[in-house]
């Protein structure tokens, strides 16, 4: 029965990040070392339950580079979502003890409702519709969908240009409804994972590939023949999914987010993942409660 977990990632203090970012980026350990710990925990709350258990259960991914990707060598999970998971665990427990359970996009609401996971940290866009079933802390990061093409492709710059083209998208991702809305005349071709989509674009199975900017940045970095066209054409505020109605826990997580935003740890976390492929300083963090559905 213990094997029902997809992956157990109890991060020991000694573990190292073998992630291949520039050496200037602080490692995940340094982030944890600088992480705040909650002054007190109210008895009878979700936080106390987690502290008694000794580790935080996060619903997430293992195969989302830059966000939540397992490193097969160290078996540590790396990326923005993974780092935030460790920081939140540290805030509650004083140590970065996290267990990541793989969550399919369609089952996240159920996982929270029946208490299988404490939080969802998985490019979980805050929408008013979802907010009827789950509570959202955050947003903790603002992303958006962008269009990628081969270098030699011309005539695709705006979402409207996708009409009449074959557009590649990840199966069950928000890209599909977004493409249908922005370019109803586009033919959508779906694949199960980001590298498969990228390979398909490279091989010419479609003219364009629509994906979350944070996910695409890594793909483009590794594939010199692919470029991102234009700016994000949607706004996807990522939230931390919490059981619907657990206002205390939501407030607690929001306090934590405000603390790390103010102390600059948020920016350092960004630098450690997305910042390894985007030049310049971290963007200003999104205002807590700013996205419709996260009030």
């Amino acid at each position: 029965m213990a094997r029902t977990l997809l992956a157990i990632a109890v991060i020991a203090a000694l573990s190292l990040t073998a992630c291949g970012g520039p050496s200037t980026s602080p490692s995940a350990d340094a982030l944890v070392a600088a992480a705040p710990v909650a002054a007190s925990i109210v008895p009878g709350t979700t936080m106390e339950k987690i502290r008694k258990r000794g580790y935080l259960i996060v619903g997430g991914s293992l195969d989302a580079p830059l966000l939540s990707q397992q490193n097969p060598v160290t078996e540590q999970i790396e990326g923005l979502d993974a780092d935030f998971g460790r920081l939140l665990a540290t805030y509650i427990l004083g140590k970065p003890a996290v267990e990541v359970r793989s969550a399919a996009s369609e089952t996240r609401e159920a996982l929270l409702a029946n208490g299988t996971v404490d939080v969802i940290l998985q490019t979980y866009s805050i929408t008013p519709k979802r907010a009827t079933q789950v509570a959202f802390a955050g947003p903790y990061y603002n992303s958006g969908l962008v269009i990628a093409t081969r270098k030699d492709q011309t005539g695709i710059g705006e979402p409207e240009d996708l009409n009449g083209k074959t557009v590649i998208a990840g199966a069950n991702t928000p890209a599909i409804p977004a493409i249908e809305k922005a370019a109803p005349g586009a033919k959508i071709l779906t694949f199960g994972s980001a590298p498969e989509c990228l390979q398909a674009l490279r091989q010419g199975r479609g003219e364009a590939y629509v994906q979350d900017e944070a996910v695409l940045l890594d793909s483009v970095r590794r594939t010199p023949t692919i470029v991102i066209q234009g700016k994000p054409f949607t706004s996807d505020p990522y939230g931390i999914g919490i059981k619907h109605g657990d206002a205390q826990f939501k407030q607690f997580v929001n306090e934590w987010l405000r603390t790390i935003q103010a102390s600059g740890l948020w920016a350092k976390t960004w630098k450690n993942s997305i910042g390894t492929v985007v030049a310049g300083d971290a963007p200003p963090p999104p205002a807590i409660g700013s996205a419709p559905g996260s009030e």
Partner: protein, 214 residues
Amino acid sequence: MEILIEHLGDFGDGLLLTVELAALALVGALVIGVLVAALRVSPVPVLRAAGTAYVQILQNVPLLVWLVLAVFALPDIGVLADLFTTSAVVLALYQGAYMAEAVRSGINAVPVGQGEAARALGLTFSQSLLNVVLPQALRTVVQPLGTLAIMTIMNTAMAAAVGVVELTATANRVNLAEAQPIWIFVSAGLLYMALSVVVGLVTGATERKAAILR
């Protein structure tokens, strides 16, 4: 229920693609199966080994792995076909290995006397195989071929995992859009059952016609 009527067109398209995939794969598999079975009973050891290797390699790797490899690896060695064609070819090659086994067992089921008689008449290996043994062998394997046809229909679902929007992928897509899983999945299941029933009826009728009374 309205969901189904609303998406009738989607289900029709998905079902059509499933039937096309299965039909192409079966025809391809039959050709490959007969060829490989012929290799496996040939007098040349290298050809026999090649036939055996084909069956072993194809049968012992999951279909999903073959599909992923073909869809993403073949373009890098200079072969780029659309997803449907790639899936149909992979399915044909995969089911071909199973077909070869069925045909070979059919060949082995033909009474030895038939082969001996053919040889006694002075027919060569290929003549005895083509004109005497194979026609009888294929008649005895109608039932296994029906089973293989049903297996092929079920395996076309795997194409959903590499982006072909056949029946299973259609069901999943409609469900994601409408969130009415029971009706949607039950209908998809019923459609698969209907396909198998058709195959069963065809197999039964063919078997009665093809049966050799001994």
